[in-house]
Subunit: 304 residues, 2 copies
DNA sequence: TCTATGCATAAGTTTTTCTTATAGTTTTCA
DNA sequence: TGAAAACTATAAGAAAAACTTATGCATAGA
């Protein structure tokens, strides 16, 4: 353990050493580093102590580097420069908005953002886009674009998709049970239902759906609560029952006839849905991606 | 200016970052670094601030590195490891006494040590020997073998050569003026004399020589004071006059008949001469060189 | 739902680093 | 030769940085 800590000399001392080697005197180095001569002198001493190696022969007024110092200088300077270069690169990327972080709700990411990601990267090649999946988040992120789900009435949030859900199942399941878009809502009462674990109660669930259709909530046995929407769809495709489908996310699958809408009932809440929210200090790149996603969502809605 | 300082992130933070990336959690990193979780957490924060780049997406309990973090980790870790490696190498060299610093009087170095240096390196190939020339030094050096000139009565000093000087000149000059080893000391009185600037008064000079031979010190006009012994010999070889020759240093040149001793007078002071002195904490390598030089000096004396 | 694990933040303390002042050495200049 | 200037090392008090303890909050697992 302590793989590096115990072996690395103090960086400040290295910087002081580099400057002294390059400029020849402690005083000049101190000037460049906007520090004082004793400070640099002590740094050198501490470096010599750390390396337990004499780096300079002190002859009263001037210093003469030892062979060890010359060697170490030649080794370490390029490393410091590279390191500074990498750090600068990162800062520049950030400064110029080339690096964009997106924190996205899992379902939205899986069924909407990720399929589109390659295209986004092609369309905005100057950006480095980083997507992190995260459910149950609508808090502040300091440096990331947030794609979340929840209440839409918020000055900083912009709506991507209003919440609209319907009952869906696989083609196979629909054929087996004679279900279709024209089925009456009553037919759904006795079907096995697939549930998502919506412990945070932000989401519409089957209870809402039945209440909205003036039907009694059927008693459920052996309820399976799935942790994320991806699992729900996975179970759905295995024809294990009916699930609630968020229209905006399922649109492609419905159009491709991979899934089937059951009954014409669409339950929606205008004040809930998927939203996009800028970081506190959006970069130019973030602004680009923001607009790109807003546009993409608007286009998708048109099909609905 | 500020070529590196302003661009480099704090090293401590880099070490914390490296450990967190490698181990996955702040707590584990803190444990490895024998620090505390909040300390590491703050380091990460400071690094993010320094790079003005988000490195981790915090999701309550765990951290997820951003693309920037992964990239930076891949760039920086090898640099840190190399740096640690170089530092370790230096420490190991020192530890095992592979690195020896010699601070040597200019004259002694030029006429005795340096001609022998290649041979020393061949004979002690495991050592890295670093010679620094320095006149007028008999003070303490923390980490270097000192070859100096001065008083010999000192518990830590060991005599290399007792001070013995004679008058010398070039072969050409001796032939022009009919001088030889058999010449009487009186013949020297009217010859042009070459002087070394011995402002520190440790050295025998022409005044001493004349006094020692019971001769009046001849009035000098256009006295040229040369700063180092090398210049003196250079002038001597240009047949500009007579100079005082330190026997131990001139021995090779006298044997090769490049220079000629004039008169048989040899002035010596038993309590002065060239000495060798160990550093405060001599390494094994230093001890080897010490003995090597003592032996070499002893051998040389035999010819005298 | 309760507990364990893990991160962030705040506040006070400790450690490190820096600055000011001083002394010593060497070079330069008169 | 001697005084001034340039440069470094060291000591001690001051400033800054880092760390630790305590606490709150969020998530994961039972």
């Amino acid at each position: 353990m302590h793989r590096l800590l115990s072996k690395l000399p103090p960086l400040k001392a290295l910087i002081a050493f580099e400057a002294v080697m390059r400029l020849g005197t402690v005083t000049a180095a101190a000037k460049e580093l906007t520090s004082t001569q004793p400070a640099v002198s002590q740094q050198l001493k501490s470096l010599e102590g750390n390396l337990s190696t004499l780096l300079f022969i002190r002859r009263g007024r001037n210093l003469q580097p030892t062979a060890a110092a010359l060697e170490f200088y030649a080794q370490v300077t390029p490393l410091l420069e590279k390191m500074a270069g990498y750090a600068e690169q990162l800062r520049a990327d950030q400064q110029e908005g080339r690096r964009v972080n997106i924190v996205a709700n899992c379902g939205l990411a899986h069924f909407w953002l990720l399929p589109m990601l390659e295209r986004i990267k092609q369309d905005l090649p100057q950006l480095v886009i980083n997507v992190t999946l995260s459910d149950g988040v609508d808090s502040e992120f300091e440096n990331a674009l947030l794609l979340g789900f929840g209440q839409l009435q918020h000055p900083l949030k912009r709506t991507l998709f209003v919440e609209r859900v319907c009952a869906i199942c696989s083609v196979e399941f629909s054929q087996l049970h004679g279900l279709s878009r024209n089925s009456a809502v009553q037919e759904i009462v006795n079907q096995p239902l697939i549930h998502m674990d919506t412990s945070d109660s932000r989401w519409l669930n089957w209870q809402h759906w039945f209440a909205n259709n003036d039907l009694p909530y059927p008693e459920q046995k052996n309820v399976v609560l799935l942790g994320n929407y991806h699992s729900v769809i996975s179970n759905l495709q295995q024809s294990k029952g009916l699930a609630l489908g968020w229209l905006c996310l399922m649109q492609d699958l419905l159009q491709d006839k991979q899934l089937v809408q059951v009954s014409g009932s669409i339950v929606s809440r205008e004040e809930y849905g998927y939203f996009i929210k800028s970081s506190n200090a959006p970069s130019s790149g973030e602004a680009l991606v923001y607009q790109y996603l807003v546009d993409a969502a608007a286009q998708k809605v048109e099909y609905a």
